[in-house]
Amino acid sequence: MVRLALKGLLARKLRTVLTGFAVVLGVAFVAGTFIFTDTIDASFKDLFERTQKGTDVSVQARLAVEEEFGAPPTMPAATLERVRSVPGIEEATGSVSSDGTLLDREGEPILSQGPPTIIVSTGPERFDPFTYTTGGPAGTADEVVIDKGTADEFGFGVGDRVTVSGRAPQKEYAVSGVATLGDSENLAGSRLVQMTLPEAQRVTGHDGFDDISVAAADGTQPDALKVAIASELGRDFAVRTGEEQAAKQAQDLSDALGFIRTALLVFAAVAVLVGGFLIFNTFSVTVAQRTKEFALLRTLGASRAQLLRSVLAETVVIGLLASVVGIACGLLLAPALAALMASFGLDLGSTGIVLEPRTIVAGLVVGVVATVVSGLVPARRATRVEPVAALRDSVAPGPGRLRRRRVVAAVLVEASGVAALLYGLLGDPGAANATATVLGAGSLLMIFGFALLAPTLVRPLSGLIGRPLARFQGLTGRLARENARRQPQRTAVTASALMIGVALVVLVAIFAAGLRATIDQGIDEQVRAVGIVTHEDGFSPLPDGITERIAQVDGVADVSRIRFETGRVVGETGTTSVTGVDPASAADVLALEWEEGSDATLAGLTEGDVLINPDFARERDVGVGDAVRFVTPRGGEVGYRVAGIYGPGAGVIGGVLVSNASLESSWDAKDIAFALVAGADGADAGAIKRAEQAALAEFPTAKPQTLEDFRADQNQQVDSLVGLVYALLSLSVIVALLGIVNTLALSVHERTRELGLLRAVGMSRRQVRRMVRAESVITAAIGALLGIVLGIAFAAIVSRPLAEDGFVFEMPVVTLVVVTVLAALAGVLAAIPPARRAARVDVLRAVTTE
């Protein structure tokens, strides 16, 4: 029976290929994702090991509160002496590192949305990870070394002058050397600037050491040394061996990347799901067409089980072949994914290609399972063929019957999907993984519910869409409409494949619209400022001295600084964001709604006061006058008294407000996130911005903006992200369109005789093509309509919990219309090959009876 299966597949090569193609794309996406992220992981791991060169033990300060991308605080300089006092040490050195900004030859800051530029300090040669391709390490406070990648890209060489800015105002240096990290031209995308230690400390504002590297004396084991140093320094320090430190850094980055990997895998899963619909459809049709063949086999004595195994064997073979091809394509897709990410600003840089066994296994499993599962129902249908069907005249498959049971089942599935989604969003299933599983299951159930319901909807929907077509095109339109209704099951499954892609596009579109509206509303309602000053890259802290400069600019009435810190409420496990404001000027730039308190409360905020929003108050059951205690990243504890409760919108600031003075004294906060500028009465926002730009000429990394600029900026970031998501969804949509081509081609093949008859009676080739095209458009339009409804349903459900946080739900009607039109156009495109085939039907062969 397996041999029979194989022969069957060979005989229908084209069909096999089309079926397999869907799986290939899905598996390629999965494999490509794994290859992409594995490659990055490997290159990071290699690089971090390199940076720990010569280091047997590594010392850093311990972060009491774990923060995403948080760097440990700087250790006091005396720590180095304490370390050196431990016996068994051959050499110990301290270093600093922090974010900074390089300027190119035109004086423009070199920015990226991904890896930062890192300023590092020099050290003894045994700890120096750099390989100097030209020149040598920085020797004086006026020298720097630049990574080769940056040097090549921006045309810097030894002896050139380059400007660097960090916390301190920008300064010009001479390039003393160009370096690589082994084979790598930079730190996996991060640019590197090396300075002498005192200069690095000045520029970064780190008064002490961020890292202490220790080389053990001969005969001392790194582990033993680690224990000795740890006991000397105490609990406030994290002491690890060099290997452990490199592994931890690689792991931290890998965890951060994990989010990207998961996101990409979700898109891959969507592609596989859509592919599954395609396979189900194709197998259904081919099984139906091979009724006579199966009947013959049954007549000859094949059992039901043998028939089932034969069809399933076909699915396994297709799945295997497609998976292998898919994995190979994944090797091609991985660099494409990297390029896509880079074009949207996430330049993660990588070298080589890493193909882990896990990737191959995952690809094979996904491909085979998807194919077999999708082919299971059609395979079972093949076994239900009665032997006597071999003797009857071969008839095209009869019209599908719609059972009422199916409608009931569909509604049940849909309802359970909605329930699961709501539970996952509003209830509390537990850990992130559990929540994700519940959400994923809920989404799948909703999709399947719609897909089950779809055949019932084909009649009315094709009637609705077909009416203008019939009026417009006359007979061909009418025939197209009827043909779409002929096999509602088949039309529905094909349309459902497109529905999934469209639903996700609509979901993203609605979300983006809502996000933009929420941002706009947040800015409009919460911010009174005339302008805002941030770092050029949007998240680094402002350089020192900026706020004083701005305060002197014409038209500026006040400058209000905003700080962000992450702390933990005492007794809780999760972290809380804390925002610091300048009470004297905050009321001039922020327009808060008050539940309890007023702008006066804000203006009168003392170091011991905290303002909270209603969510915070409700969750911890605190009100005005109650005490709240926080653990700071340094490990200290600070207590506050609730002085007021302000309105719910999160907007530009968070849910907890304290004074900057408190953050500076108790939290050791050094960074100013951004500054809000209050204008004098009647001052022109644009004029103020220009004046600020002039005043900040020495700080090229500072970016003054009017509120309008800021709004446009934020909206544009949303657009960027949306563009990336659309790009990733496009693969699924392409698979769905291939599904339409496939189904249509099969349907045309089935109707050969009918087409021959029509041509004999006088239907022209153009009319035939129009008919097939109309059928394709109807199918695509059904898919689009279902997708829009499903997408809106998704968006409505998912935005429920967000609504409480101030999320604005907005329906982008224009986008929806565009989506429908595009779907119709896609239908036209998809119809081109089958329409041509249909028009070329050999009339004679078609009408000749045997």
Binding site: A396, G474, L475, L479, E482, N483, R485, R486, R753, E754, L757, L758, R759, A760, V761, G762, M763, S764, R765, Q767, V843, L844, V847, T848, T849
Partner: protein, 240 residues
């Protein structure tokens, strides 16, 4: 009488060289208007091939075909299709109807394709004569074999073509239905002045015709007037 359809030295060869099959060898025939002609012959005689060529469904290897005054050899697909739509009617042995359309819509097919208006009176009369009044809204799957063929005949006549070509129209029917169908075709000739060319191997079907042409091995071996059923059988025996 004018010739509605004629062919001159018509031949059709399939394949090449030694494997070549000569389905038709230089056939010359003329079909005057208003005549009921039957083309007969044993299997492989070329009768179906002849009809396909006459109807413009196939291109000859040699010779020419003239339909309604026009030589169809040089016509492109578009022109041929239009010719079939406007000037020819077809009834096949089976699978005559479009499954998704009702009987009435099937009947109107040639007119709908051409975008022409129906003459309601003419249509009603036609439907009456094929006796389908109560089955108009039904789809082919809901009609018996005989009813389906009657619908096909009505369709073949609705646009008042120059010629109706029928290819074994009674092949799948029982005796009663066969008689009905043949009767209809006969009446189309007698009452409507229609020209009918029918291919069949059924002696009884052949007996309704006014002219019988017999082919054997791609050539005409007999071209004479109508015969009774027994006469037809004798003819076939003589030719075999």
């Amino acid at each position: 009488m004018t010739d509605i359809v004629s062919c001159s030295d018509l031949s059709r060869v399939y394949g090449e060289g030694e494997a070549a099959v000569h389905a038709l060898r230089g056939v010359t025939l003329r079909f005057p208007a208003g005549q009921y002609t039957v083309i007969m012959g044993p299997s492989g005689s070329g009768k179906s091939t002849l009809m396909h060529l006459l109807a413009g469904l196939d291109s000859p290897s040699g010779g020419s075909v003239t339909v309604d005054g026009r030589e169809i050899g040089g016509l492109n697909d578009k022109a041929l299709t239009t010719l079939r739509r406007d000037r020819l009617g077809f009834v096949f042995q089976s699978f005559n109807l479009v499954p998704v359309l009702t009987a009435e819509e099937n009947i109107l097919l040639p007119l709908s394709l051409a975008g022409r208006k129906i003459d309601r009176e003419w249509l009603d009369g036609l439907i009456d004569s094929v006796d389908l009044g109560d089955r108009l809204t039904h789809r082919p799957a809901e009609l018996s074999g005989g009813q389906q063929q009657r619908v096909a005949i009505a369709r073949a006549l609705v646009h008042r073509p120059a010629v109706v070509f029928a290819d074994e129209p009674t092949g799948n029917l029982d005796t009663n239905a066969s008689e009905e169908v043949l009767g209809l075709l006969r009446r189309a000739v007698d009452e409507l002045g229609q020209t009918v060319v029918m291919v069949t191997h059924d002696a009884q079907a052949a007996s309704v015709a006014a002219r019988i042409v017999v082919l054997r091995d791609g050539a005409v071996v007999h071209d004479g007037g109508g015969e009774s059923t027994e006469g037809v059988l004798d003819l076939m025996k003589a030719v075999a």
